[in-house]
């Protein structure tokens, strides 16, 4: 029997209709999955994360001339044996801290992460980062529209080549 003849639209209109409806339902389902995702997360700050130097990171985060502050606690090992997994703990004691960003000075792409906190949420966290070599870890805090900075050198004995 010749399959092509049997499956032509003229001979099997119901089957064509069924396939078309199915396809359209599938497209609609995919679109509805993508939409809430966009609404939930803010746009990823590509200029800041793609910057290859600290100055570029500052520019990407719209932070000009941050002031050095003693009210940012930055805990990181003085010597990190494994550059692929360096723990960094940050807490801001600056009132109305809205945003905290962590960057590693000598990595190809310095910016590691930035966090935006809702009102009243404790501005503190621990993350684990890759470090290519001995470098300063810098923390930038935004509070009431102003920017503050602290940093600490971490010696790396065995660097992560993919940082």
């Amino acid at each position: 029997m010749d399959r092509d003849v049997i499956d032509t639209p003229v001979l099997r209109p119901k089957r064509r209709q069924f396939l078309r409806t199915g396809r359209n339902l599938l497209i609609a389902a995919c679109c509805s999955l993508v939409e809430p995702l966009r609404a939930f997360a803010a746009d990823w700050n590509k200029p800041a994360f793609d910057a290859r130097g600290w100055e570029g990171v500052l520019k990407g985060l719209n932070a000009s001339s941050p002031a050095v502050s003693k009210d940012i606690l930055l805990k990181a090992p003085a010597i990190a044996e494994d550059g692929a997994d360096v723990p960094v703990t940050v807490a801001s004691r600056i009132p109305n801290t809205q945003m905290i960003a962590v960057a590693v000075e000598k990595n190809t792409f310095p910016l590691a992460a930035s966090f935006t906190f809702a009102n009243g949420v404790e501005p503190e966290f621990t993350i684990y980062i890759k470090m290519k070599r001995t470098a300063r870890v810098r923390v930038l805090v935004q509070a009431d529209g102003k920017h503050y900075l602290t940093s600490r050198e971490v010696k790396v004995t065995s660097g992560s080549c993919s940082a």
């Binding site: 994360f49 792409f109 992460a113 966090f115 949420v121 966290f125 621990t126 993350i127 684990y128 940082a163």
Partner: protein, 109 residues
């Protein structure tokens, strides 16, 4: 595939600490594959958001500098037993991962 996010909670003084671990390669797109010599394409987490009872507590953006299989620790106050945490991540390939956990009754509290 099961969700690659694991969540755990523990009391920390008057706060509750949430530990988020995401199984993810965190490839920067700079490394070469040791066998083929070809560039390994970029594949890393870009956003993380944490909600408590459907209210957003924090939103983060991340780069490939985060360690492979990254771990995040955050502490929140005013968290009660029965509250619901919800964590969602997206990566540079447009995938979305999510996980939820209900706050248990902690002992010695």
């Amino acid at each position: 595939m099961s969700e690659p996010i694991t969540l755990s909670l523990q009391p920390k003084n008057e706060l509750v600490e949430i530990v988020v671990q995401v199984l993810h390669p965190m490839e920067a797109g700079e490394a070469l594959h040791p066998k083929t010599g070809k560039a390994v394409p970029a594949d890393f987490l870009q956003t993380i958001a944490i909600q408590l009872n459907e209210k957003t507590l924090l939103e983060g953006q991340t780069g490939s500098v985060l360690a492979k299989n990254p771990v995040f620790r955050f502490s929140f106050k005013g968290v009660k037993a029965g509250d619901k945490f919800y964590v969602a991540c997206t990566d540079s390939k447009g995938r979305k991962f999510e996980q939820g956990i209900v706050v248990p009754v902690f002992k010695n509290q």
